[in-house]
């Protein structure tokens, strides 16, 4: 006789406030129901009541992990409607901030994942290197989480001490290459705990429309930096990471290898930083009537913005589709047939973010 176990919305086995109702037969998961909405703030509606300058701040506060990507996507959508082309230096700084944010998000996930696996030494090591990423972000922006660097028409903070930032990035690279990536890709504890668990087949990945590392770990070569290149990705030459296995190990390995690619992009962008102004001259450009969509690759996958302007200083429609919104439903496909004890690790492997999902 199957029985039901409610997990969440607030539960030690969950990293985020959402609710899983797991139906089990014995120790095996038979079906799963997922409920969200526990941290809904109606950000889309609020954004339709504030002006564009206020909205940059508002959308940046949707999430503490990919805050910068929300601000970039919103600014890019407004720039697209207004036909604004931002200076090259701003494109490079946006790319550097985006990749630093990916590094700190992937490292945070790797730390939490290590805890779920029971590898606490790894958790300490990862959080130590993540602090270095936060230091670099703070050195550039003055802030640790919500950076306030993006504006419509460019960026509002420059990278003045490239050598200092580069030395910080190289230190991060050294720890990633020496410890984090080898342990995540070769270490027996992680391998045995994650290989063959929570498999999402390529077909299911397509069906659920998953994005980001979750899709790439199921063999889908789906990355906005490659498919819809913006910022400085085309100039820097982005290399996609995919694996065919679809299990938790593949999701871990994709994120681990992506971190090395992020470091490479940051180094290259810092070395090639163009000498142009930071932003267009007009600090408050008028956004004419029109509509635009923008896709950017946030740490968890494709972040999508639809923006509609009626020509006033307040957007008439702001639609935000975050990567976790499409990745969380796929947990069902990963969990069915798996042992109940693996649920904490399976749900964590998609790196769910309810701040983004609920908005």
């Amino acid at each position: 006789m199957p029985y039901k176990i409610p997990i969440g919305p607030y539960h030690p086995a969950l990293d985020e406030p959402y609710k899983l109702t797991v139906s089990c037969k014995g120790e095996t998961v038979q079906s799963l129901n997922i409920e969200i909405g526990f941290v809904l703030r109606s950000v889309e509606l609020l954004a339709q009541q504030r002006n564009y300058i206020q909205d940059i701040v508002l959308v940046e506060h949707i999430c503490g992990l990919c805050s910068n990507m929300h601000a970039i996507a919103f600014a890019m959508a407004a720039e697209k409607i207004a036909g604004i082309r931002i200076p090259a230096r701003a494109e490079y700084i946006r790319t550097i901030m985006a990749e630093l944010e990916r590094l700190h998000s992937h490292l945070l996930w790797a730390g939490v994942g290590s805890m779920d696996i029971g590898f606490k030494t790894m958790f300490m090591e990862i959080y130590h290197v993540r602090e270095r990423v936060m230091d670099v972000l703070e050195a550039i922006s003055g802030n640790r989480v919500h950076y306030g660097v993006m504006c419509i028409g460019g960026v509002c903070r420059d990278i003045t001490d490239q050598e200092n930032i580069l030395s910080g990035v190289r230190e991060i690279k050294r720890v990633l290459e020496k410890d984090v990536v080898p342990i995540f890709t070769k270490e027996a504890t992680i391998k045995t705990r994650t290989a063959g668990i929570g498999v999402l087949s390529r077909e299911d990945a397509l069906n659920y429309g998953v994005v980001g590392p979750t899709a790439r770990a199921s063999g889908l070569a789906n990355d906005i930096r490659q498919d819809f290149p913006s910022m400085a990705y085309q100039e820097l030459g982005f290399k996609i990471v995919t694996l065919p296995d679809g299990d938790i190990r593949a999701r871990i390995m994709v994120r681990a290898m992506e971190m090395l690619e992020s470091v490479r992009l940051i180094e290259l962008a810092l070395q090639q930083l163009p000498e142009t102004p930071l932003r267009i001259e007009d600090p408050m450009p008028n956004i004419p009537p029109g509509e635009a969509t923008v896709r950017v690759e946030a740490p968890r996958g494709e972040l999508f913005y639809y923006l509609k302007s009626d020509g006033s200083n307040i957007p008439s429609r702001v639609k935000i589709r975050t990567p976790s919104f499409v990745n969380i439903p796929a947990i069902e496909a990963m969990a069915v047939g798996q042992p109940l004890a693996d649920m904490p690790l399976i749900q964590a492997s998609v790196d769910p973010c309810c701040s983004c999902t609920d908005r």
Binding site: G37, A47, E302, Y306, N313, P329
Partner: protein, 148 residues
């Protein structure tokens, strides 16, 4: 590939105008049905990104179906009839939560959805909370003097 997508979209209905914009292809669904479009996009191995809803007159909703076919974005506009439209969950599993969200926020009835219950807001509250106007129209309603 882009040319093939554009051509197949044009065949959806007579006079189907496909605009090639910097953010992808845009078209109006016209007299074609959303299920026919969904089948076509599935055939092209498209990924359903999301559905953007905009509240319009007579309690209807404009829906924009956003797809990605590799590196090509496709955006298709349509309108509800009596605030209802067929569900595309039979074609795209990813539409399940997307349609539930639009049902929750805009009160759209996705006919044929297997479980059209609220997604984000508590069931005690009325549907259609996001139907209030944004932009200048919303500012006038709120008496916001800062709107330009």
């Amino acid at each position: 590939m882009n040319y093939e997508i554009e051509n197949r979209l044009k065949q959806l209905h007579s006079g189907g105008l496909v605009q090639n914009c910097p953010d992808g292809l845009w078209m109006d669904l016209g007299e074609a049905t959303i299920l026919v479009l969904a089948e076509l996009m599935k055939d092209l191995e498209a990924r359903l990104t999301t559905i953007s809803a905009i509240s319009i007159e007579n309690n209807e909703t404009e829906l924009i179906y956003h797809f990605a076919v590799g590196g090509q974005a496709v955006n298709v506009k349509t309108r509800t009839q009596a605030n209802a439209i067929p569900s595309i969950t039979t074609v795209f599993k990813a539409a399940n939560w997307i349609e539930r969200e639009n049902h929750d926020f805009f009160g759209v009835n996705f006919v044929g959805h297997p479980n059209l219950v609220r997604l984000l807001r508590p069931p005690q509250l009325a549907e259609g909370f996001f139907r209030q106007p944004g932009g200048a129209a919303g500012a006038i309603l709120r008496g916001d003097k800062n709107a330009i």
